[in-house]
Every structure is written in C-alpha cells, then in structure tokens.
C-alpha cells in the first residue's frame, strides 16, 4: 500500500483549494484473467480496445437514455464541485464531479454527437472539448472512476439532476468490456456465482456459523432463538450481506434480526443459495451481472416456498432490492401482496414497534450516546415505509425506541445530503486505502464534532460496507474502531426476549401467527 497522509481535520466541512494530480496513479488492482472470464468479460485488455471501447460507449448511450441526457445536459455551472467527499478529502480537481464526468463526456462528444463527428473531420473537435480514446484517457478513467463511490451526493445539488453514479458505472462497464476489470469487485462476483456469497462462505461453514450464534444467544440470554438455514415453507426469506455472518459489528446485527423474528412469532429462514444480499453488479455497471445475481434471490424464494422477502442491513442491496428487483427478477406474484416486496428489516422491526409487539429495556444501551450515519444508497436511491423520507425517520425511530441517548450530526451531513463513508460503490478494498481514508474526511469531521460537543460515543449504520469502512478508517482520525455499531445490535441489546416452550420451537412454520405482525 502506498504511503499517504491522513487529511487535516477542520472544525467544519472545509473545501480545499484544488491541487492538481494529488490522486494520480492510485488505481485499484486489475482483475486476473479468471476474475474477468467468470463474469463474461475478456481476460485482458483486447488488441483493438480503443475501437471496442468507443463501440461499447455507443451501445451504452443508446440503451440507457438517461446516460445520454446526463452527458448532454451539463452546463458547467459548478454546483457539484465542492460536494464530493473525495474532492474535499483529496484536493484533486479531477475529483470534482463535473471534471470526473468530463473524462467520459469528452470522449462521448467526439464519437457519439453530431458536432463532435463533424468537427473531428476538420481536426477541430477541441473546440467543444472533445477528446480521442487513448491510453492516457483509459488510465485517467481507471484512476478517477475508482475514486467515485456512486453515492450521488453531487446529484442532489445539480440543477439538472445529473446522476454522476450512472456515468461512473458506464465507464467501469466499458472498461470491463474491453478487458480492464477491477480485481476486488469482479473476484467477489465470481464467488457469488461459485459459492453463493461475497465472502466465499460455503454452506457447511454457514450452517456451523449459525449454530454457533444460536449457542451464543442462548448462553447470553437463556432463551433459545433460532437462525434457520434452508427451512422450507416458512413465511420469510431473509437475505442479508454475508459480512453479517463474519465481521464485527455486523454479526451483532444479525443476532438482532433473529431476536426480532423470534419475538414476532413469524417463521423465517436464511438461504444457502441466496446467502448474500449484496449485488456488486450495480457497482461495475453491468446489467447482466446485476440480473444474474438478483435471480438467485428469486430462485431461493421459489425453492423455499416463502411468502415474503426481507432484506438485512445492506445499503446498495436495498437500492437494488427497492428500486430494481421487480424488473430484474420479477414478477413476484407468488409472494404475499399484502407486504412490501421486498421489505427492509428496519421496516419490519419498526412496524412491530408501532403495533407495540416488542418490549424493550432501553437502559441496556444507556452506556452509549448514539448518532446515525445515513448510508448513501438508502438515503438517496430508495425509501422505507409509506411516507417520503421514511428511510431517514424509520431507522432513527428504532434507535430512539431502544436507546435513551441520541444526537444527530450536522444537518447538511445527514439525510439527503449525507456524506458517504468513503468506501462505498465497490471501493472497499485495501489497495484503495488512500482513497478510502481521504474520502472519509467529511463524515469524520461531522462525527468528531458530535463526539466533542455532545458526548457521542457510538455511530450506528445499516450498511455492511459503511460498518467495515468505519472500522478501518476511524483510527486514522483518532477515533475508536469499535465506535461503529449495527442498528439491530442496539435492538438486540434492549429487546426483552420471551421463552417459547419446546413444542412450539419444533414446529416448522407458525401460520397462525403470520398475520399478527
């Protein structure tokens, strides 16, 4: 890993003066040939890659009309320039969203607009900022499209609503199609196809892990709470990021979901086939891979004969689930239409709280003062509940129900304007640590302020990437790595469990109780 400096922490979000070139040559590891071919991409950079890239770009702007609009509409007003966490943390002007987009836009202008085609014949394409597809351009794409976490904060402030994430996704897809894929994302998608999840956790290891968690809950609470795997005929299939089976504090959240299901009386299961909610097909902008990954969830739901699908705490999975699941893997006419398809675990828990079905002792969390980090894909690309802004109020309502001490961070850094953790969009890899640490600066600024001024001790999140990213970057900013917690970990600590007798525990499904929620 390259040596780098942690950026200076200012009292408020500080927009630096641009320093060109500070983030050059920090691109991620390139995918190995089999990481590429597993996903249907060429093993390595193809011979006539310039031509192939131009063609792939042409297909993209024809197939995705929004992309063409985003490329055509920018008037260079500059509203986005100071909105990106990677620009704020790195000072590199190519991380201003407009400049990053222009790396793609300038090539698009030359080959796929009437003005560009005409002026190119006269050698005057530079008049409209059009550029040829060259190795230097490719290298710039490789660097800077892996310094965008597709968080869409800049889009909130764009008067035209240009979605930078779409442009980043398109650029990454074009690169993968000509044989330049990213190791971290592509290796992981390959594991989803071969083993079933991002971690590469085989079924037997998953079963053993779940059994261990059941033991832990029983040791701790004296109550037998199940974490069933591949149980047929139950009400709910829970799909959750595989980090929930492996990492801290994720696993504490998983135990929280299990306890909530236990208390609800609704029967549920995890699936070894769909043992992953994440969908990295989104990050690499590949519709085909996104669809293939989504279809596993449909197949698992059919195989297991469930009535509902619930998603665990995973930011981009919820975006794919909430916004695209029906077109990617639908129709879901075989599921119970009385419930959201899919439903978020926070919606599920919140609903039970509203109906007074859960009993809590919030004093169990009194040793902490909480704040909440809105994850970008939940905040800006989806919703929860039946009211606008439900994705902001529902998780906070849950936290405030189970914790007595809660404080929000500065308003311009949360909600719709939330800052990315710095590791989203497929950048959560050690080879991008400089990018991740610098990109975390705005969130670390807002967090440090509530730690110092309000006595905040912990920050909760509902995204596996956010949780892992913070665990890693908090120490760079002199904060404890264990400050980050899962929302359902807080639920888990405060929830008062009721024992059920053994006979009920043995029953495969509990249809009589399915309507109580």
């Amino acid at each position: 890993m390259a040596d780098f400096e942690t950026p200076e922490l200012f009292k408020n979000i500080h927009v630096p003066k641009p320093v060109p070139g500070t983030m050059e040559s920090v691109g991620p590891f390139i995918a190995k040939p089999d990481h590429q071919t597993d996903l249907g991409f060429p093993a390595e950079l193809v011979d006539n890659w310039e031509e192939k890239a131009i063609d792939a770009m042409g297909v993209a702007v024809t197939k995705y009309r929004g992309l063409r609009v985003f490329l055509d509409a920018c008037v260079k007003c500059g509203s986005c320039t100071d909105k990106c966490h990677y620009y704020i943390g790195s000072s590199d002007p190519k991380n201003m969203p407009v400049a990053r987009q222009d790396l793609f836009r300038s090539v698009y202008r030359k080959y796929h607009t009437p003005a560009g085609k005409f002026l190119s014949k006269l050698g005057l394409e530079w008049l409209i900022g059009a550029k040829s597809m060259t190795k230097d351009v490719l290298d710039d794409w490789w660097n800077y499209y892996h310094q965008c976490s597709e968080c869409r904060r800049c889009s909130v402030y764009c008067p035209y609503g240009i979605d930078t994430a779409e442009i980043t996704m398109a650029a990454r897809d074009v690169m993968a199609q000509v044989g330049r894929g990213m190791k971290y994302n592509n290796e992981i998608i390959g594991k989803v196809y071969k083993i079933g999840n991002n971690l590469g956790l085989p079924e037997r290891a998953l079963a053993d892990t779940l059994e261990g968690l059941e033991e832990d809950i029983e040791d701790e609470t004296g109550v037998k709470v199940e974490l069933p795997l591949d149980r047929k005929g139950v009400d709910i299939l829970l799909v959750t990021p595989s980090a929930d089976f492996f990492a801290e504090p994720h696993v504490d959240g998983l135990m929280g979901y299990a306890k909530v299901f236990h208390e609800s009386g609704v029967s549920w299961t995890l699936s070894s086939k769909a043992s992953e909610a994440a969908n990295f097909g989104l990050f690499i902008g590949s519709y085909d891979n996104m669809r293939k990954i989504s279809l596993r969830i449909r197949e698992a739901a059919i195989d297991l004969g469930v009535k509902r699908i619930v998603y665990g705490e995973c930011g981009h999975a919820w975006r794919v689930g909430y916004s695209f699941l029906n077109t990617l893997a639908g129709p879901f006419d075989f599921l119970d239409q009385n419930y959201p398809i899919p439903q978020h675990i926070c919606e599920f828990t919140h609903d039970l709280i509203q109906k007074d079905k859960l009993k809590f002792d919030p004093s169990e969390n009194d040793w902490m003062t909480l704040t909440f980090h809105d994850s970008c894909n939940v905040a800006r690309a989806s919703r929860m509940g039946d009211k606008p802004g439900g994705q902001f109020t529902i998780p906070r309502d849950i936290i405030k129900t189970v914790c007595n001490n809660y404080v929000d961070m500065a308003p311009e850094t949360i909600g719709e304007g939330t800052f990315c953790c710095g590791g989203g969009g497929g950048l959560l890899t050690d080879d991008l640590m400089p990018v991740r640490v610098k990109g975390a600066l705005p969130r670390m600024t807002a967090l440090t302020n509530v730690v110092q001024d309000e006595g905040v001790t912990h920050m909760a999140a509902i995204c596996a990437i956010c949780k892992s990213q913070f665990t890693k970057v908090l120490p760079y900013y002199n904060l404890g790595m264990d400050m980050i917690v899962s929302v359902h970990q807080l639920v888990s600590s405060a929830l008062i469990l009721t024992s059920r007798d053994d006979e009920e525990d043995e029953s495969e499904a509990a249809p009589a109780e399915s309507s109580t929620e």
């Binding site: 594991k191 971690l199 085989p202 053993d208 595989s242 492996f246 990492a247 801290e248 050690d430 596996a464």
Partner: protein, 110 residues
Amino acid sequence: MALEVNGKSYEVDEEGYLANLNEWDADVAAALAASDDAELTESHWEVINFLREYYEEYQIAPAVRVLTKAIGKRLGKDKGNSKYLYELFPYGPAKQACKYAGLPKPTGCV
C-alpha cells in the same frame, strides 16, 4: 510476484498472500511475517494453527467471533477476545493471521 524461502520460489499475490495453499509450511509462514517486519511467537502460532485446522474443515477462514470463541476455549478466557487478537495481529486478525497461515484473504464487505 514471488517470495524466496530457502532457495525456493513461492508465488504470492499483489498483497503478499500465498497463491497455493498447499505450498505452505512453517518456514514460509515465518517468511510471510518477515515481509511485514513481524516475528512469529508461540502466541501467533496458536492462532495460525487454529486457522489452518478450521480452513481444512470448512474451506474458509473463521469469522472473528468464531476465532475468539475457539481461542478462548483452548487458551483461556483472557485470550478469547478481539483485543488480544488485534495485539497479536495489528492489521486485523482476519486478514493478517490468514496471510501468515497461507490462507486466501477474506473478500467482501469485511
């Protein structure tokens, strides 16, 4: 990329993880640690040996929780916590200990 141990060359990836799990032995482990300026003590070996055993059984490294629980059972409660493991492997027990044990790096949102 390659790692030289006792005159033999071993393939490793960009981050120094051993490419072929079956080539691993105690000398390779020591060399992998040396490339990070780390020295393996008896305490490190207790963890590394458990990781190898678990991998053989389940084809994946254990979760941190599984690891702390197992270490606690074998070596006493004072060692069965992530603080102890982070002291031994400051870059994270999952990643750093796996590397010296010759196991692939855990991937995903971890």
